[in-house]
Assembly symmetry: C2
Homo-oligomer: 124 residues x 2
Amino acid sequence: MDIIISNSSNIPLYEQVKEQIKNKIVSNELKTGELLPSIRSLAKDLRISVITTKNAYEELEREGYVETIPGKGTYVANKNKELIKEEQLQKIEGLIDTAVSIAKISGISKEEIREMLDILFEEE
Amino acid sequence: MDIIISNSSNIPLYEQVKEQIKNKIVSNELKTGELLPSIRSLAKDLRISVITTKNAYEELEREGYVETIPGKGTYVANKNKELIKEEQLQKIEGLIDTAVSIAKISGISKEEIREMLDILFEEE
DNA sequence: ACAACTGTATATAAACAGTATACACTGTTT
DNA sequence: AAACAGTGTATACTGTTTATATACAGTTGT
């Protein structure tokens, strides 16, 4: 499982792991029913503690993205695809909303943001 | 000074205070040389500790937004306006960038984001 | 000098992030 | 059935971050 974590980031390790796995589920790179790497092997890969990977998996389970069976492993859950898209839309709306707030405060125009959007959408 | 803080937010108190004061400086609601409320009076207003308001002011000073003189008070610093705008632009670019990343992962189109941008820009 | 205001320093408590290690469950191999 | 090698779980500990109370020190006007 290719996950890249940064120790110098201000984002907690378990959250970096959580987000990247969530992304793989949302993008369908990880499909429903698929077995995730064990917390141990993932921890060894990333050179972090077993407990940290466990925390990541626990949060994913709390949010309904995975299901874990003691002694067996952790599997991608059958989460409603429409619900997932709705969550992503809301996340984006939140980001755009703060961006707009900042723009208004500092007198930045809508066109400047539009340009950023155009450029960033092509680039990646 | 009207600042609204939420105890239930996941954002630390000192950071909520810091951001809102920074916004007032960026929007020129607080002008260069102006005296901020004392850490004590602000703490009393917001019903938080003196140390917490002090932490907020310290960070603002570290970022060059204010200057504080022991025994006298804390004043809005004469920070380069162009530099401030540059910082705000970068902050917005970061937000749009993550929004675009999420959109690409979950198959959300540029048009959907554009619509959000239009709506949010009119609303507020 | 004193009173009333400023910011500062020290010590403490609680929550959070990350860890190591010992424990318990599941499945396979013998 | 016993042994083993894999899975997740629970406990206990360390260091950092967030927030606090309280005692200290500088500035100003009377």
